[in-house]
């Protein structure tokens, strides 16, 4: 079982890289939101590959500092993504506030760079969940792109926020490594589901290889 979950963890990294590369197809011809989301996928794939290389691949060192790049990078790009979808430019101010908050924390306690920032990640995820709810609400009446992705962001970030938030508490518990890994494995499964939704979005709405033949005209 553990082996299977480990393989699933590795597979999620390959899938993450594949999804990022897939979204590069049609990068130029699609909307601004598409391009930002593609950049987000590439960033996440790079962070995952980096964290894997440092933590499990060759170096076997602590890769916790990657979590800062993960939550801040994710927050910045997804805020720009939703600012474009929701057409609300004031959301950019939240990016500035979040970066200030992270910089202040690191200047105050430089050692915190090598620890996990539970509060920062929870706040960032909560705001991103809020964006996705607002966007899903908007898409009830308006024709909107990225509805499947938004559903994925909503369900994955909402569930994973709790897993990340309890990470520090759980890691200090006197438990076997296998028991501690249950939450990490659950996160991998949820992340896989999220990636699958992102892939469904691409194949359904952005697959430029799929032609639609309708009323005698071929719409590519």
């Amino acid at each position: 079982m553990d082996e299977f979950l480990n393989s699933l963890g590795d597979f999620s990294i390959y899938l993450s890289v594949f999804t990022g590369l897939l979204y590069l197809i049609g990068f130029r011809k699609n909307s601004k939101s598409y391009r930002i989301f593609a950049l987000y996928l590439i960033l996440i794939a790079l962070i995952q590959v980096g964290a894997y290389y440092v933590g499990r691949g060759h170096l076997h060192k602590s890769n916790l500092y990657y979590s800062h790049f993960y939550y801040l990078g994710q927050f910045v790009l997804l805020t720009i993504f939703y600012a474009s979808l929701l057409k609300r430019k004031w959301l950019y101010s939240l990016v500035v506030l979040m970066l200030f908050y992270a910089a202040y924390g690191l200047i105050k306690d430089p050692e915190s760079f090598y620890r996990y920032n539970t509060l920062g990640m929870t706040i960032a995820h909560a705001i991103l969940v809020l964006y996705s709810v607002l966007y899903l609400y908007k898409s009830i009446t308006d024709k909107g792109e990225f509805v499947i992705v938004s559903s994925g962001i909503f369900f994955y970030l909402l569930s994973s926020t709790l897993i990340f938030a309890t990470h520090n508490a759980v890691s200090n518990l006197d438990l076997t490594k296998e028991t501690k890994n249950i939450l990490a494995d659950l996160n991998v499964i949820l992340y896989m589901l999220f990636l699958i939704l992102i892939l469904i979005e691409w194949f359904r709405n952005y697959n430029s290889f799929k032609g639609v033949y309708k009323n005698g005209s071929n719409e590519g």
Binding site: I140, S151, F155, S159, L162, I163, L183
Partner: protein, 255 residues
């Protein structure tokens, strides 16, 4: 609390959050589907309405062509036939000068009648007074024409200050023409009240005819009424029709 209990608690909380998230996504999905269906239904209804208006326009056009063809045949062609016959008799010769004088007088008389008829047909197609002097003058002329034939049939009241575009004035004039024709032909009305108000433009029309049964779809959506409705749509006016059998009709439009 045992350490493993905390893991269980977190797992339960994550499961609950997941269930809540999926429930909310399902809610958004079904709401979206419902809204899309409602929008589709509205669009379908709009298309149906447009189709009805188009059909009414085509039918009206055909009716109008038939009427013009009939008018041309009855009032012009038949008269010109007589002129042609009489001219042939004159050209053939062999008739007395009194007879030829009589034929020439007949030709002149028929030519006058034909000329008058052609003027009437042209006038019916587009009253020159409407183009030259506007809606109010055209309505006054229409009222006078009907009142000459049937004293005090139409009473025109109110005032008008060219608050409509000339093309809209034509539509309003056609609506009044259609209403008056319906009142006389179908309603056998003896009295028609026509009132115009300006800024905003309001037209109130009522008669004392037999009225129509608005519950009867065939009567409510007859060609004449459809024609009036499509003209109201073209000038972006709201219309209201009130009527019941035996109590005449009340019709108003407002831009």
């Amino acid at each position: 609390m045992k350490d493993s209990d905390l893991i269980n608690l977190v797992l339960i909380a994550v499961s609950l959050l997941l269930a809540m998230a999926l429930g909310l996504v399902a809610f958004f999905y079904f709401s979206r589907r419902k809204v899309v269906n409602a929008q589709l239904e509205n669009a379908q209804m709009e298309i149906e309405h447009q189709k009805e208006i188009l059909q009414a326009t085509i039918l009206t056009q055909e009716e109008e062509r038939k009427r013009i063809a009939q008018d041309l045949h009855d009032a012009i062609s038949s008269k010109l036939n007589i002129v042609s016959l009489n001219t042939n008799v004159l050209l053939d010769g062999g008739i007395t000068s009194e007879e030829s004088q009589g034929l020439l007088e007949t030709i002149l008389s028929i030519s006058d009648t034909t000329l008058e008829n052609s003027r009437r047909i042209a006038h019916d197609l587009l009253p020159p007074v409407l183009e030259k002097f506007g809606l109010w003058a055209a309505l006054e002329e229409l009222t006078n024409d009907f009142n000459r034939a049937s004293n005090g049939l139409i009473n025109l009241e109110g005032s008008y200050d060219k608050c409509l575009e000339p093309k809209d004035e034509l539509h309003v004039f056609r609506i009044v023409q259609e209403l008056v024709n319906n009142s006389i032909r179908h309603g056998k009305a003896k009295k028609i009240e026509l009132k115009i108000e300006k800024n905003p433009f309001v037209l109130d029309y009522c008669d004392d005819g037999s009225g129509i049964d608005l519950i009867d779809k065939n009567m409510r959506a007859g060609l004449g009424m459809k024609n009036i409705q499509s003209r109201c749509d073209i000038i972006n006016a709201t219309s209201l029709l009130e009527s019941c059998p035996g109590k005449g009709i009340k019709f108003s439009i407002q831009t």
